[in-house]
Symmetry: C4
Subunit: 223 residues, 4 copies
């Protein structure tokens, strides 16, 4: 009995290290993508020739940059929180997970570009294109995220064996619904850019709400 | 009795991993925000046409960039040290903490912009605006920090249950005082920019001083 | 007997911390190199003077940037996965490993430059040079990687003592073959740029496939 | 006796977590500073008007950028390896260490600027200034490093209590010698830039060599 415990510990240690490196790596991409967002906000240049313009006025004029910064920072933050939540249930790693996770991070890494695009064209006649690209940038990682979940949870391939099947089904439904809503938002951008942005913000808030989930119960109660 | 110990270990492991990822992620944002600061320092271009200008002179001329770099690096360093100290007492994570921490990191990630603004306008007539924005960039994360502490410490929601109530009250008072002083500094920027900067530096030094706190005593001495 | 176990634990803890820091550090360079790739994609500027050009058209026009982003992100992702796999077998660190790993990371950190070069010259007459540089950027870290493996595995210098000698030989052969193929691809760029790129993509997919390797068996089964 | 062991474990865990966060954070700054170096290498623009210039020729022309990239990457790598080695002996953290470490990281974060400066002026008449700044950028963190070591090792303030006093003295002498040599190199830049660079490279190689040190012996041999 003592021996069994030991082998169990060895196995779980091996697994912990494995998803550990995957998570540390993903953490890095999330953190850098967020922090690079600030690069799109440029310091205004008030020359001698620009009469009547104050620095204060020039800074106010740049509001689309700040708005895009805030939306993207929170957007990536929500993706991070979801990643964080889901990897609590994913206990093992394999090449398929690493591949899908890389595709996911590639989408996260695209945010600084879409954010700069959104902040530059938010007030122009071309805003439909910019908002569509931005919505797509938000929708794509969520689709990949659903693929990650379906891949990892199928027949308990990579997730914690102690996860309650009912909770698993509930989570899967929730993730697929969120994905469907984001694809709808993406399509909506071609009809009405402001409505698409408003729905994006609403969805972001919904996703940020606590999930009424219980932590995985690890180990039986009776010896 | 042996069983109780085991369940206790499981619980604390779960928690450790949880705040662990939050801290690793925050670490990344701190480190990147600090390291991106250097981008605002531009290499001077000494062409053939600029007679009499040496590279040495051009580098000296850029002193506001170096000063802004040093202030911001230390400023983010102090925010990091505070984050580091406080999360030693925060033992559990929840969606509210993740949300507030994201807002906090959004403020930290804004530093490279404010720093570039400060270094460009430190010597111009527009320095009041630049210093006010900079003070605001320093004051805002401190306000969010106080919210994080109030949220986490209220009824021991997320902090270590072994933390002495007297110490907890002392820390809360300390954090609220620091916040009030920074809001005052922010307001002062509109009256006198140099005074506001001087007070910022003073406060930074005060915050950098060791806290006379004892580490959380984990576990009773007698079984 | 109990004492032996303890000393063994101490030793492996020491080692774990050691390669742990090396891996965390490498993780950071991988994550940053990947996320910096996005900087090469510039936001198109549609002025009043550019008649008939839509933002959508201008974005489509930038396809080499997106392609280069995707290839490089996956390329660094594959290098990461390989690093991840190999360091599962490397159990100890020494100055030689740290030096070789730094050279390896220096190659990884060069990707944003090669990617920007590739995306700018992919459609020009100078694409042979750009593709050759890019192939070289992909081949060089793989050569260094083989050197790391030969250094670490020679006489079990740094690798896990429990690794099966047959598996070790198989892995060594596999890594040397991959390296040889990449050097061939590099040479091919001077003959035909498109063929070289196609082979690169093919190799990338091969490397991304799961290795049919068994995890290191730690500890005997019978006490 | 069993109880003593347990309290000992608790204490060392606390300490491990503490320097752990400091090291993760430093890791991030090292990794980002290294990876940002690539930004100074610009993609050459071959327009229609530049007759007779090939991309290959333009890339060759940029050799000072590659040289500066390699020197700085290895330079930061060596600082990292030293940090890595020394923090193996530093077992506890305090505000003084955090402050000195932040100053140290501020120097590391300055490398991308000095590197860009060096690569731009390496071939110009102003190279003395550029090399002096670069030497200073390399010498300053080493001086701060010596301060960190003197601070941490004084009366075993923060270092491992099991560290052999003879080894400690040897390490202290070694670090102070390296610092003195770098200050000399810095001064030499004003006399002869090429000689200063050559000495820098030589010192870098010396520092990269394995230290003939034994790992800290943790725990007595007999119970």
């Amino acid at each position: 009995m003592d021996q069994e415990n030991q082998s169990d510990t060895t196995a779980s240690n091996f697994v912990a290290i494995d998803t550990g490196r995957l998570e540390t790596f993903s953490e890095g991409v999330f953190a850098i993508a967020m922090t690079l967002l600030v690069i799109e906000i440029s310091v205004p240049h008030i020359g001698n020739e620009s009469e009547g313009t104050t620095l204060f006025g020039a800074l106010i004029e740049e509001w689309p940059s700040y708005l895009a910064y805030v939306i993207s920072f929170l957007g990536i933050g929500i993706l991070w929180a979801n990643h964080h939540n889901r990897f609590r249930y994913i206990a093992r790693s394999d090449p398929g997970l690493i591949f899908l996770n890389t595709i996911f991070l590639m989408c996260v890494g695209f945010f600084p570009f879409s954010t700069a695009l959104l902040s530059e064209y938010m007030r122009s006649a071309e805003r439909t294109t910019a908002v569509a690209v931005y919505s797509g940038t938000l929708a794509t990682p969520l689709i990949v995220f659903t693929l990650i979940w379906l891949y990892a949870s199928r027949n308990y391939r990579l997730i914690d064996f102690n996860l309650d099947p009912a909770l698993l089904r509930k989570m899967t439904r929730r993730y697929m619904l969120a994905t469907a809503l984001h694809i709808f938002t993406f399509a909506l951008a071609f009809v009405s850019a402001p409505l698409s942005i408003a729905l994006l913000v609403g969805l972001a808030m919904r996703l940020a709400l606590p999930e009424s989930e219980t932590p995985p119960h690890t180990g039986g109660s009776q010896p």
